[in-house]
Amino acid sequence: MEAFFFDIVLLLDSSIRLVGPLILAALAGLFAERSGVVDISLEGKMLGAAFAAAAAAAVTGSAWVGLGAGILTSIALALLHGFVSITHRGEQIVSGMAINIVVAGLAPVLANSWFHLNGQTPLLDESQRFTSITLPGVEVMSNVPVVGTLYVEVISGHNLLTYVAIALVPLSAWVLYKTRFGLRLRAVGENPSAVDTAGISVIWLRYQAMIVAGVLCGVAGTSLSTALGAGFIRDMSAGKGFLALAAMIFGRWMPVPTLLACLLFAFSDALQGRLQGVELPVVGVISVQFIMMLPYVVTVIALAGFVGHIRPPAASGKPFVRSR
């Protein structure tokens, strides 16, 4: 029982660490799609931000400069996506995919020519990263059974960006459902003509959504290379952008359910690592390949079976053309 509890604590701790970049990217996708722009370039934006943040942090020695560089890079990519899909009404999937491919190639090439380290940036030391924070009250709580252990091991000890990511979930919900900007954003994703008739600029609203998505992806990418990791490595986003899209759909384009979906994916990923080579009751040791399928199987079951009928924002993916 003791060992079981200990394992659960470890898995939860690991899930929270992994969920940071995932939920940030998912929220970015959520804002974009709620405004009517399909954004599959989350992966590319994250990777670009991860590279820019690591490069800037390595050169200047400051994680905060890295964060700024990451966010700016990601915003630039988001605006590029906006320019293609909003201003020029281009095909949004193609534009998004193009950004993913360009960044995947460009980041290692730039890293190569700047740092000559095999397409990586130099490893960052502690002062150039967002390191783990010990929350107040850990000494007191460590004497309390169960709740105290959970607080010390699971809640405390994460990096700043993870806490920011979690805090952004209620904030996003508030912006989306309680502010004028949120109302207009939801409207423009459902019925842009009505928004246009009301005299509000559809184009500008969608660009604003792209900027928000850019900032969120920028923080996500920065957390990959300067908080969870310590430097940029080629393809280090490793499909998290696409997983975030799945989480967003599973969460039906709503912030809190999306967080739960992200937690489920992060947990199944952590569980996958834990179950490798472990003797399970009844079935015995399952071979590694099957265990590794776990997060993907969960994704497929979640998307195909559990969510039931999904209704994306009505105008999502459709460029706005003002009818005469």
């Binding site: 470890l10 690991s14 660490r17 992994l18 090439v109 190569n112 000559h116 380290l117 095999n118 397409g119 990586q120 490893l123 390191t131 783990s132 990959l224 969870l228 990791g229 310590a230 430097g231 490595i233 080629r234 393809d235 280090m236 490793a238 499909g239 990923d269 952590a270 690592g273 834990r274 490798q276 080579g277 590694v288 390949q289 590794m292």
Partner: protein, 323 residues
């Protein structure tokens, strides 16, 4: 027009004496992507070339491809210019080298860390399991809890060789030692995922392992990072990674690409280069464990002695390390 002809003639005059100097081999060294000074494979290959140059006084040409598309062009260009030996570094050369080797059957090629089965190609690989045996011994001799970890990149036979040698080495010290084994993934992203590598390492450390050997390419940076943050030991791989986190990297399992390059070059120089498959193990100095100023205080004299004994026994064949 006349001037151009003179220039061409002059070029011929300059070029011809070199062509007649047949006793000095013309050697080309083509790196993998990432540049000559990548602090890893390419730099090791470069060091091998420099060692050859200072030993024999014969210079060589090298080339850094900027993309995979340039690899085949580069080999072809050197082949067309009549180089005696062309050495290519890395797994990505398997396909381009095969193509060029077919087009130039009289030329000699050496490919390192890759396998091309052609009569004019020498394929050099390493007995990673023998080097892993030694670092497994180090891990078992260092571990206080007698619980050690292994993190492999992609689940492929090559990585199983690392795991197997490591486990045999550790069990030679303590047959009951507990080994936690994890693979990062089943696709090539597994080599570039330091986040997941770090997560797996944290998990293993939390479960009581105090030394983890990662054979996972750049994913291993995450393992070293986790070792540093949780105050445990990691073991690096391929090149000397002791400097990445001094005091936390117990040692590194070295693949001596420099030795392989130097051997191939010396072969061309001495005229005993031969095609076929070469597998470099402890006996050929192809694999080793890293010992430098960052970890010399971690490897005690007693440990060094036992390692030296094991090395001698592996070379003599008394200990057989299974891949």
């Amino acid at each position: 027009m006349k001037r151009i002809i003179y220039v061409i003639l002059a070029l011929f005059l300059v070029a011809s004496p070199q062509a007649t100097m047949a006793d000095e081999p013309k050697i080309a060294l083509i790196y993998d992507l990432g540049g000559k000074f990548d602090k890893s494979f390419n730099e090791a290959a470069h060091n091998g070339g420099v060692a050859f140059e200072s030993a024999t006084g014969v210079s060589y040409h090298d080339f850094e491809p900027a993309s995979e598309a340039q690899m085949e062009q580069a080999i072809k260009r050197f082949a067309r210019r009549g180089y005696d030996l062309i050495i290519a570094i890395g797994i990505s050369y398997a396909t381009p080298l095969r193509k060029v080797a077919e087009d130039y059957p009289d030329m000699h090629f050496t490919v390192i860390d890759s396998h091309v089965d052609m009569p004019n190609v020498q394929s050099v690989s390493f007995k990673e399991h023998e080097g892993s045996y030694l670092v497994g011994m180090i891990a078992a001799m260092t571990s206080e809890k007698q619980k050690i970890g292994f993190i492999g990149g992609m689940d492929i036979p090559l990585i199983r060789k690392f795991a197997s040698g490591y486990a045999q080495g550790a069990r030679s010290i303590n047959p009951d030692i507990e080994i936690i084994e994890n693979m990062v993934g089943a696709s090539p992203t597994a080599w570039n995922d330091p986040i997941r590598g770090g997560e797996l390492a944290r998990n293993q450390y939390a479960r009581g392992a105090d030394v983890i050997y990662s054979a996972a390419g750049p994913t291993g940076f995450g393992v070293i990072q986790a070792a540093k943050e949780t105050d445990n030991y990691a073991i690096g791989v391929d090149s000397n990674q002791n400097h990445l986190a001094p005091g936390y990297v117990l040692t590194s399992m070295l693949k001596r690409v420099d030795r392989a390059v130097e051997r191939a070059m010396l072969g061309a120089y001495n005229g005993n280069w031969h095609s076929g498959v070469e597998v470099l193990g402890l006996a050929e100095d192809g694999v080793d464990y890293a010992l430098d100023e960052h970890n010399e205080h971690l490897i005690t004299d007693d440990m060094r002695q036992r390692l030296a004994e094991a090395r001698a026994k592996i070379i003599s064949g008394e200990i057989v390390v299974n891949p």
